[in-house]
């Protein structure tokens, strides 16, 4: 397993956001984590990269427990995350936002040229401040910035949030190329259709627990709706 999350619990003050969540991702897979607002999807990703300081349980990467390894070192191991809200650096131009993503110098396919080839919309805006881009372009930039580290594991948090469907589709169309370059992808989505289309396997979180998991092709709409909203089908 490339990523193994074993009985992880996570807290914000007195509030517990995750309860004994376990998840496995094999190398080369694309796994979607779906769930309603507040189900704990983003918290799960934040725990994997080490941004949640109040968490218990074990996260292992490539067989190695990540306990005590700070976020910036996890990137060096090959775990990159596109954070919710994109978090583009406003003081940096588009090109600088990409370059700063390569600080750990992991070798691989992605560099400024290949990322701009993947997202041509960014190419003619490379000298502009990153935050002057449209929402969709900022999302592409955030993905590109994460790719610059040539990650083995790419975590995508709510890529489609606030974007027009057409833009979302164009961003998802780049996923096969990203996985072909060697990245295993875990994506967090509220949009179930998008998640099922793009992923091999799906985990559905409900109020901090895994309510359903399985191969995307095997799950029925009813199963997902039930797990997503916590409804009993007979109700």
């Amino acid at each position: 397993m490339l990523l193994e999350v074993d009985r992880v619990a996570s807290f914000y003050g007195d509030f517990q956001a995750l309860f004994e969540v376990s998840l496995q991702v094999a190398e080369g897979e694309t796994v979607a984590v779906i769930g309603a607002n507040g189900a704990g999807k983003s918290t799960l990703l934040r725990t994997v990269v080490g941004l949640q300081d109040r968490a218990t349980g074990t996260v292992s990467f490539d067989g190695r427990p990540l306990d005590g390894i700070p976020t910036h070192r996890r990137l060096g191991l090959g775990i990159a995350m596109v954070p919710e809200g994109r978090r583009i650096f406003p003081s940096l131009t588009v090109e600088e936002n990409l370059k700063v993503g390569a600080v750990r110098d992991r070798p691989g396919r992605w560099d400024v040229a290949s990322v701009l080839a993947l997202f041509p919309a960014l190419a003619d805006r490379r000298d502009r401040p990153g935050t002057l881009l449209s929402g969709g372009e900022q999302q592409m930039l955030a993905i590109g910035r994460a790719l610059m580290a040539n990650p083995r594991l790419l975590l995508l948090d709510e890529v489609s949030l606030g974007l027009a469907p057409l833009v979302v589709r164009r961003i998802y169309e780049t996923l096969p190329e990203i996985t072909a370059a060697g990245a295993t992808v875990v994506l967090v989505e509220q949009d179930i259709g998008q998640a099922l289309a793009g992923a091999d396997r799906v985990y559905c979180l409900l109020e901090g627990r895994v309510a359903l998991q399985g191969r995307a092709a095997d799950l029925t709409r009813e199963q997902i709706t039930e797990a997503y909203f916590g409804l009993r089908a007979s109700g």
């Binding site: 941004l51 976020t71 910036h72 070192r73 650096f89 993503g101």
Partner: protein, 290 residues
Amino acid sequence: MTWVNVVVQGLLLGGLYALFATGLSLMFGVMRLVNLAHGDLSIVAAFVALAIVDAVPVNPLWTLLVVVPLLFGVGYLLQRGLLNFTLRGNDPLPPVLVTFGLSIILQNLLLEVFSADSQGLDAGRIENASIRVSDRLAVGWFPLLTLVTAVGVLVGLQLLLSRTRLGRSFRATSDDPEAAALVGLDHRHVFAMATAIALATVAVAGLFLGVRTTFTPSVGPTRLIFAFEAVIIGGLGSIWGTLAGGLVLGVAQTLGAQLSPGWGVLAGNLVFLAVLAFRPTGLLGREVPA
């Protein structure tokens, strides 16, 4: 012609103020940390230079080769070993209290080691040599060297910030420390590098001060205030603003002193207050998000 002379001398003095303000501006820009020991650290640099000159008879300007790397190292360790711990959370008070305490400790250490006597660094002929522009106007070589050095340091810093990997990491970490961690930047190291570079400029400033005038262990806070005024007048977060702020402060002080010998510092303070009242973002500052 007298007034031209006054303004020119003011600009030259402003070079020294800009040099002092550089480190303060950099540290505030990168990590929103106001280092109240800034002035005292510059005086430490001057005293270290003095100790070297006492031991080895060289021109004090040569001691820059030792003092600048020394303060660079001190800056790194100070940030990594102490100041980083004051930046946890969003409370602005811990860094202020800790650097204020550091300021007092440094002053007393200097007093203990070097006594309260006034000291000076003797750079030889360059101190008094000047270029005669006309009957009424002469430009001193040393003040000119100070101004040129200040411009050089600021240009260098600007290039560092805009062109280098380290500069990008400063800006990224300043923008969003958490997102910076996600791209592999360790804010503890980035902040320590910022303080290291800031204190390297402080070393230069302290040395030039020591050659220009006399100093005692207790003059650090005055230096801090002038540096602070230059940063505010110029505008927070702007490198060229720091230069402009230093120059404006220098000219204001010499103009004030020309009107009446006691009005120099007062005039500088009044300009500072006027900027705070009418243009709080400073002359070249950008809007600071609340």
